[in-house]
Amino acid sequence: MDISFNIGGMAGQGIDTIGDMLTQVFVRTGFYTFTVKDFESRIRGGYNFTQVRVSDVPVHAPVDHMDVIVALTHDAVVGPRPRLVDGGVIIFDDTIAFDDLEPCHFPAPLSRTAKEVGGSVRMTNAAALGALLSVVRFPVDLAEEVLGHVFARKGEEVVEKNVLVAKRMYEVTQERFSGECRHDLSTVRCGPSTDRLVLTGNQALALGAIAANVKWVSAYPMSPSTSAFQEVVARAHEFRIGTLQTEDEIAALCMAIGASYAGARTMVTTSGGGFSLMVEALGLAGMTETPVVIYNAQRPGPSTGLPTRTEQSDLLFSVFASQGEFPRVVLAPRSIRDAFDTAVRAFNLADRFQVPVVILGDQFLADSSMALPLIDVSTVRVDRGVLAGDDDTPYLRYRLTDDGVSPRAFPGEPGRVVVASGNTHLEDGHITEDPAIRDAMAEKFLKKVPAIRDALRPPELYGSEDADMVLVSWGSTWGAVREAVDLLRAGGQSVCQLHFTDLYPLRTALLREVLSGASVSVSIEQNATSQFAALVSMETGLMCDHHLNKYDGRPMTARWVVDRLQGAGIA
């Protein structure tokens, strides 16, 4: 089973609600889901959609085609028509004037049923859900089992009435729907999945940060990062986390640096434009060796670009941002579950090496959701790095050590003075212009790099090292590229995927091996200039043979990858 449901309409019409309920129905009945949201940078109106992909195996990417569409506006009937599969269905309210009826169109009495059975047009969502389940012949008993939960969970006031509306619409559809749907789930029983935790990428990241003991998060809202911040804010009171919406991004990072200097684990959340404003303070964190985690949920740039769309185009910017040279870490989670782990790792790396850590997410990962197994937080380990002992007297914040890492201490302890400075400084933190110290401090920074690299995750090889073709990918496109590998291999191609989540400093051993072994290498990135491939060249001198680039702001799919490879004659 692999069905893609698509709920389309205007912002503010309840697309998300239907999508969430649909997700819940399938999760509760044991299926794997993957939900993506496509919306414009406006608050009401326009054409938005939610895609819920349901499968009996885990999926980590959307698809381009649509199996069943619920359209809440005329535009949503017409616009996605080309992407409807043969044997697909478009359900829409029969009050929408639409003449060019084809067999795939199902004008349904959604709002009428809502009014008649539920007493309110606001239950049109429930009606849509009923119609949808009916069209794919989702077993009515299974549906009944979950609908009550679903509406209760969604906080719908009149749970029973909603259930009635949905059920009624299910029946009406059975009676009235005369088309053919290519999916018939009537024989389906509960799916194999026990995954029940539905999280977005931003939620997973925020919860990971909480698990890692984040104690201060300051941020200025910016799509698509805001929901990560709001997730922490919403839980700030129960966990006692300091959170503040600041006047700008500069203040956000400076506050986080201050709180970190004082001993708290800190994070900021932003997107590219906000990250741009943080660049000077990033250098302050670097120079003062103050750990801090910066979550940059990327969106298409340059400048304001497409605020609610997705892209992977801040990679080299993140790697080289700020004047001067200092060690840093850049990570990009590959999946929603990985966003949780990445957050935990980010805080530990930041503390251990006393460097800023940038997490590069993107809108696709941030706003997508899927069902996951419960996360066991008891395995989370907090590593605060080397702390100064009692014998560290007089305390030297920037003591020169073999590995470049100086034991940390925090202000407030009797007998210890903790001095931090963004100017070139002595071991004690006070400023200097001595060229020898300058050299020593620059070398202190260089020394950290090999150990950081070793602490990072090597790339993941999917498929055989000996494959003819290697697809090189990073971050959130993991699922799409992996699925593309499956498709290609099913078609008899010898292909593997080398996927990076830990981008900088780059681990190059496996990369060299695989790239030099393969006869064709292809970088696949959600940007126009193949930034990761450039980083690879920079670090190894190796060039990928081909580059696939997607930069229209829409998430990548396996189909897109395969089509492009075939279109270019590479696969």
Binding site: L197, G242, G263
Partner: protein, 289 residues
């Protein structure tokens, strides 16, 4: 509890001979020596400028930050460690040029820190360009005649008052006794405390000199100003004219930023640990049955 020698400069002072910063540093030392908070409970935060070098001339926990950004850094420190007294030393360029937004927002949040503005009317360290407090027409390398600086100065006292600061004063580097008192009050005040300190820059500023200030300042306390009267304070601050009022303009009680955040009931945020059991429960609750 603190002695003068506890505070002795970690580094030789590099300010120009005769600079008003010496008076400010001396007053700070006296202020701290005269109070009963132990030395390790202070953190000094500075920006970049001649003023920004204070941390290297007094032996305290400190963070020498970026130009314009000491206030947000100090805010973060204070939120993480509310038990520490956080003092900001900032220049007029630092605080009212590059960092003006932070100043206003920290004031309306009533962040419990003390901000001492070394107000010398110039960017001292970058060689004397007019600063945001330089008078209209001030002549410098970036504002040659005609007509000198083509704009009105920022009025830090009025700005602080309008923005919501709960302790607003003006001091003079040359009046040690009263400056020490204002500093001590600002440090002990619960809320955002600003002292705009008139500080002659003997190298660059030929207008706002020691003798100019000595000839023009008057103490508003002696004039019977009531520091609980916000409108009177605002009137004094915006009066204009030849004479420059110094002293305490305004003091009030209001909730601080920390009061409005979900900080731990007791102990510092920096020492608090997220309850993993609770997090596990949260995750469990998020699951769909």
């Amino acid at each position: 509890m603190i002695t003068q020698s506890d505070l002795s400069p970690p580094q030789p002072v590099t300010w120009c001979k005769g600079c008003g910063n010496f008076g400010i540093l001396a007053a700070l030392r006296k202020a701290l020596v005269g109070m009963d908070t132990p030395q390790h409970k202070y953190v000094l935060v500075s920006g970049i400028g001649c003023s920004g070098k204070v941390p290297h001339y007094i032996n305290l926990n400190s963070f020498h930050t970026l130009h314009g950004r000491p206030i947000p850094v100090a805010t973060g420190i204070k939120m993480a460690r509310p038990d520490l007294k956080v003092i900001v030393h900032t220049g007029d360029g630092d605080c009212l040029g590059e960092g003006l937004g932070h100043f206003v927002h920290a004031a309306r949040r009533n962040v419990d820190i003390a901000v001492f503005i070394h107000n010398n009317g110039v960017n001292g360290l970058t060689k004397g360009q007019f600063s945001p407090t330089a008078p209209r027409g001030y002549v410098s390398g970036t504002s040659p005649p005609p007509p000198g600086a083509p704009m009105e100065p920022v009025n830090p006292v009025a700005l602080a008052l309008i923005s919501g600061a709960t302790y607003v004063a003006r001091g003079f580097a040359g009046h040690q006794a009263s400056l020490v008192r204002l500093m001590q009050d600002a440090i002990t005040h619960r809320g955002f405390a600003v002292v705009d300190i008139l500080q002659p820059c003997v190298t660059w500023n030929r207008v706002l000199t020691w003798s100019f200030y000595n000839g023009h300042i008057f103490d508003i306390g002696e004039d019977g100003h009531d520091p609980s009267d916000h409108s009177a304070a605002l009137r004094l601050a915006t009066a204009g004219g030849d004479r420059i009022p110094v002293g305490l303009f305004y003091r009030s009680d209001a909730p601080t930023l920390a009061d409005g955040l979900s900080l731990p009931e007791s102990g510092a945020l920096a020492d608090h640990v997220n309850d993993l059991g609770l997090l596990q429960q949260v995750l469990r609750d998020m699951q769909l049955e």
